[in-house]
């Protein structure tokens, strides 16, 4: 009886711990990445974004996604990879207007991924 209760308690704590950490980590990571994207977006609007800015965002994302693969389905991460590559290559070639639309999509994806994991009725069912 004690052993069973203990195993129930440990399982509950493990699940709760993983859930809390995962929420905190995914929100934090996407929050940071969204902020970097926002900065890049503003620079792109001003047509002052450089190859170096684009490269810095790419490096930052590549670092983040190594750990994100543990928590987020890999397909979701691939969407970010795809739109980020497009957006950054447009910035690098100076096509700022086209790059803005790609960055807009990216910002939306970064908002949607953590929202898709939120504790809500529609996500449960």
């Amino acid at each position: 009886m004690v052993k069973t209760l203990l195993s129930i308690l440990i399982s509950l704590l493990l699940i709760a711990g993983v859930a809390v950490f995962e929420t905190w980590y995914v929100d934090k990571t996407f929050g940071e990445f969204s902020a970097q994207l926002e900065t890049l977006y503003e620079k792109t609007e001003d047509e002052s974004a450089t190859r170096g800015d684009a490269e810095a965002v790419r490096v930052s994302w590549n670092e983040k996604k190594k750990v994100l693969h543990v928590w987020v389905p890999h397909n979701d991460i691939s969407y970010v990879d795809y739109w980020l590559s497009e957006g950054l290559s447009l910035i690098e070639t100076g096509q700022y207007d086209d790059a803005l639309s790609k960055l807009e999509v990216l910002k939306e994806i970064c908002r949607n991924i953590p929202a898709a994991y939120a504790f809500s009725f529609e996500n449960i069912f």
């Binding site: 129930i8 859930a19 995914v26 987020v72 389905p73 994991y117 996500n123």
Partner: protein
Amino acid sequence: MRMGLIFIRTAIIYITLLLIMRLMGKRQIGEMQPFELVVTLLISELACIPMADTSIPLLYGIVSILTIYLLHQIVCLIDLYCPPLKYVVSGKPSVVLNKDGIDEYQLRKNSLDVSDLMESLRTAGYFSLSAVEYALYEANGAFSALPKAGYEEEQTSLPLLVADEGKYNAKNIALTGMPPSFFADILKKQGIKNVKKVLAMTVDGTGKVFLQEKGKKRKIFTVPLPEGKRW
């Protein structure tokens, strides 16, 4: 909160499956308790999906399996220490055959019919409905029967189900080699004008008849068979 979602979703599926297994009756259960069957059904799938699909984080599978383990432990505790809830989770044995005959309500409740009962009896080594005092389906779907004293001597011929659930069984009647009117006459002599009132009627090769009208007690008697008519 993906892990939280997985936890809630797994719990919902577990409870739904358990409920459905209980509602389906003992027919659907092998030799496991309903909650054991649910675990067997779920664990293999939960383990396979993240194992085979590398795009899904392994943690999703681990959290689901851990949730199933957690729920299973809770159900096991209920099963051991909470008798009123134990019946809700595991069900209780159903006595389908007693001294009065077949309990039609219990059979229906477990999605079974008379031929299923006879099949279970034969599997247990009893070939006649009149060979046992009591027969029951355990909570896990296993079949148990208490035979009458000296039932072996009575099992000299295979009883055939000639009528059940208000209908004649043409195939079994053909096996007896007797015309349907022969069995209709037996019913008439017992005061049953229409076969629709019969829950079960078996006749063996020695002429021993087990007859039970719907909602009434069983009757066991012997009728003379025409010369040379034995099976």
